[in-house]
């Protein structure tokens, strides 16, 4: 960026800080003549270049790593300019083959102390122009023209520097000159990457923290907030609960156990999604099992909620769930709908003699009703929590033991695992299902909801009476 020389911003600082110790130590060790990577001489045109290593030999680093990880790490070293490729010099990755690489001289290592300034780049491009006109690549020519324009006030200085450097270079021995040219070129590929290539030096927009603030490295405070009175002896119980949760869900995790009939991403067959749609007639066994893990799971899966509603209807206790749903609608609804929703909920569930009156304790009822005078989205919180706890501690467990649940468990499908051959998978890929667009599904849901609302709405006796009156 144009402001590269202006200030050393914090994101760049932290980027280079993460490179510092580990990378430089590793690179130094790699060059150790006895224990490091073995180099060789390479014939390049008419000179031989010493200390060249082949891509394949980059692995012997002291830390025990798998081959691919070593390659990834080596790619980082190439991307940041500690090592540079000799052949495909614009592609900054470590290839696991016989392509050749060299260690970059420490002078050109990325460091926070020396930022690659535009003036330096201009000198470099000018120097190459002096050496041989027309040797700049198109993107370099574009940079050159641009720099010539806005660094014009310094151009005499730049040309002078470039000429001096060129003269000094001529006095070197040819192999040294070739090596230095390669090193310098590699440095500028890293710091002024060609168009349409990816650069590791990118660091995104500036973060606004103060870079000159003290870096509290190695010291971190562990803050206990002490707003709750948790005691140490609960820790074991908490950790065990985490383990229990994972064990419960293990067979439902597609990364740990195969999903039946198959994972759509692996076999290109969307059967798994079709068997688990929102309103499927018969759910799968795995899905039904998940409903039994917690009331939260049962309610989160709308198909499970439907089943729960069937049970509640049989018990004539559907008003708790209906109230909970209404409270959710209120909590997550638009700000403008608060008062109308509050009124509807009061009429349906809380008013004395309401058609779906919920049985909550007197205090909560009193407070809720009072709060409804000035309704806000959380006004039903206490009542909703109370109702949820009732369902969680009592109704949910009765549901799991009920004929409704046992029935759906029996009926539930257990699909056979797919066993596609590679060619069948290819065939599946050609016939990938489009599925139903979420917008269409949403419209269908809205229709269903409207129907359900009409079916369960409190009958406005006065309106019915007046209608009858008018008909007479």
């Amino acid at each position: 960026s144009k402001e590269a020389g202006k200030k050393d911003n914090s994101t760049r600082y932290s980027l280079l800080a993460s490179l510092s110790c580990s990378s430089t130590n590793t690179v130094v060790e790699m060059q150790n003549p006895s224990s490091g990577v073995k180099g060789a001489e390479q014939k390049l045109n008419v000179t031989t270049i010493p200390h060249v290593i082949a891509g394949e030999t980059h692995t012997p680093i002291r830390v025990k790593v798998i081959k691919q990880e070593a390659q990834a790490f080596a790619t980082m070293l190439v991307a940041y300019g500690y090592i540079y490729p000799l052949q495909n010099h614009k592609k900054l990755v470590m290839c696991n083959d016989a392509s050749l690489y060299r260690f970059q001289t420490p002078y050109f290592w990325p460091t926070q102390k020396w930022v690659a300034e535009d003036t330096d780049y201009a000198i470099y491009l000018a120097k190459r122009n002096i050496r041989k006109k027309g040797m700049l690549e198109p993107y370099e020519q574009a940079h050159y023209n641009h720099l010539h324009e806005w660094l014009n006030h310094k151009w005499d200085f730049i040309v002078m520097q470039a000429t001096e450097q060129y003269k000094v270079a001529r006095e070197r021995k040819k192999p040294d000159r070739v090596v230095f040219d390669c090193q310098e070129r590699a440095y500028w590929i890293v710091n002024r990457p060609p168009r349409y290539t990816h650069s590791a030096m990118d660091y995104g927009p500036d973060r606004l923290i103060d870079p000159s603030a003290d870096q509290v490295k190695g010291q971190y405070r562990h803050t206990h907030t002490h707003t709750h009175t948790h005691t140490e002896w609960r820790r074991l119980r908490i950790l065990l609960e985490m383990v229990k949760y994972i064990t419960n869900y293990k067979n439902h995790d597609p990364f740990l156990a195969p999903c039946l009939p198959s994972n759509p991403w692996q076999t290109e067959s969307d059967a798994y999604w079709n068997l688990n749609t929102r309103r499927v007639d018969v759910p799968t066994k795995m899905r039904v099992e998940r409903w039994s893990f917690s009331l939260f799971e049962l309610l989160s899966d709308l198909r499970g909620r439907d089943d729960f509603k069937i049970f509640l209807k049989k018990e004539f206790s559907g008003e708790n769930l209906a109230f909970w749903e209404a409270a959710e609608e209120m909590k997550w609804g638009t700000a403008s709908s608060m008062s109308t929703k509050a009124e509807a909920i009061f009429k349906t569930f809380l008013a004395p003699g309401a058609p779906r009156w919920i049985n909550i304790d007197g205090r909560t009822m009193g407070l809720t009703v009072k709060g409804l005078d000035h309704p806000h989205r959380y006004v039903l919180d206490a009542a909703q929590t109370h109702v949820f706890m009732l369902m969680k501690k009592d109704t949910f467990f009765r549901y799991l033991k009920s004929p409704v649940y046992k029935d759906i468990q029996k009926k539930a499908l257990n699909p056979e695992p797919h066993n596609f051959s590679d060619s069948q998978v290819e065939q599946n890929a050609r016939n990938r299902g489009m599925g139903i667009h979420p917008i269409i599904l949403w419209q269908q849901e809205e229709e269903e909801r409207a129907k359900a609302a009409i079916a369960s709405a409190p009958v406005d006796v006065k309106a019915v009476m007046s209608k009858i009156d008018r008909k007479k």
Partner: protein, 395 residues
């Protein structure tokens, strides 16, 4: 949901002192009552219940203290991986790239899955937001944003809209349509307005509200229809880079992480910072709740991922390795919570065993840093977005 006392946001006369003030719903001898906060404090500090003497109480507290010390000694230094010793190891994972989504002209900064488990939205540095059907690789919509660096994008729960924002300091909602050729930018709705860049956004449980985090150090809850600010959350002392909503039945809290190395848990109703964790050594780039909602993980520039338990109120695990020196930009849990996928700045994705603390696998393929990692809603795949202009879906 754990058995904590809930604060009922109600207003009325206190049962003890009769003054009208915000009330806390508490139980005294199994009887529910509503006290104002002052009376709660008074009661907690005094209160000899009937039949107790100071001496008997003292004896009781001494014996409890002794019991606590005994238990504490037994459990000194119990760590998650010790508890998980008897659990079997994760069997070898064979995860491959199943899709490469090409189409962005520049770095892909963020992505989010649709609840239908196959569609996703992604946003890029060049200002384009693309809605894809990941399964068929169809690009369904391409929305040009008026700014570059669109750092946050989210899919609405209904699947009918998307939200995005970045250097424009705003979060805008675009309703989607079945017509591919419709100009979505025409129906754009500006919802959130911050004083600095938008770093993260998410819809709550419905399409009507959006939670945002910003470089101005705050998070905020907005009403989509009116653009009204419902609640703002102040407490971070530097840019907030990420947030995540709790997957709990109460759905009232969220966690945020920022450049001040802190991860804060907030109550959406009151705007209060209820818990804070500061053990990272550098900026926190991403925070994500554990599937049960009782814990969350954070990813940081210090090259570690850390797991914090909310009820224990402390860090319970650190996921790090000597050979990993580059920052983690993003993370997500697999469905069961056993695996933790982390996207790193060295172009790789590391997969950690959450219980045992070791790395189980690595995913290679991206050619520049990984900016976002998200597991699909049914856990069948994980999607990674990268600065190499592509997204990859792995399974």
């Amino acid at each position: 949901m754990c058995d904590q006392t809930f604060m009922a946001i109600t207003f009325g006369p206190c049962d003890n002192c009769s003054t009208t003030s915000p009330l806390m719903n508490i139980y005294i001898k199994n009887e529910p009552t509503n006290y104002c906060s002052f009376c709660v404090e008074m009661m907690a500090c005094q209160g000899l219940l009937k039949g107790e003497t100071l001496a008997s109480l003292k004896n009781e507290s001494e014996s409890l203290k002794k019991k606590l010390e005994e238990e504490r000694a037994k459990l000194h230094d119990v760590e998650l991986h010790q508890v998980a010793e008897k659990i079997e190891v994760v069997s070898a994972l064979s995860i491959k790239t199943r899709r490469v989504l090409k189409g962005h002209g520049n770095k892909v900064l963020c992505m989010d899955w649709c609840k239908d488990k196959r569609r996703l939205v992604s946003s890029s540095q060049d200002g384009k937001v693309i809605v894809w059907d990941g399964f068929t690789l169809n690009k369904e919509h391409a929305v040009p944003m008026p700014c570059t660096w669109v750092m946050a994008c989210a899919y609405a729960p209904s699947g009918c809209a998307i939200a995005c924002g970045g250097l424009d300091n705003k979060c805008s909602v675009y309703p989607l349509s079945l017509d591919k050729n419709e100009n979505l930018a025409a129906k754009k709705k500006s919802v959130a307005m911050h004083t600095n860049y938008l770093s993260g956004c998410t819809f709550t449980n419905s399409d009507m509200q959006i939670l945002t985090s910003s470089g101005d150090g705050t998070c905020a809850l907005w009403d989509v229809e009116s653009g009204q600010l419902l609640q703002s959350f102040h407490g971070h002392t530097a840019d907030v880079l990420s947030l995540d909503l709790a997957p709990s039945e109460t759905g009232n809290t969220f966690v945020s992480g920022g450049c001040d190395k802190k991860a804060n848990v907030w109550d959406m109703r009151s705007g209060q910072n209820v818990q804070s964790f500061e053990t990272h050594e550098s900026d926190i780039n991403c925070v994500k709740y554990y599937p049960s909602g009782d814990a969350f993980a954070s990813a940081s520039d210090d090259a570690t991922c850390r797991l914090y338990d909310l009820r224990a109120d402390r860090e319970v695990a650190v996921y790090q390795k000597d050979s990993i020196i580059f920052g983690v930009s993003s993370l997500d849990f697999s469905l069961s919570g056993r695996l933790l996928f982390g996207g790193y700045n060295d172009y790789t994705i590391n997969i950690w065993d959450v219980l045992k603390g070791n790395r189980v696998s690595m995913l290679f393929g991206h050619e520049n840093r990984v900016s976002t990692v998200k597991v699909s809603p049914d856990g069948t795949s994980v999607c990674s977005a990268s600065w190499d202009n592509t997204l990859r879906i792995w399974a």
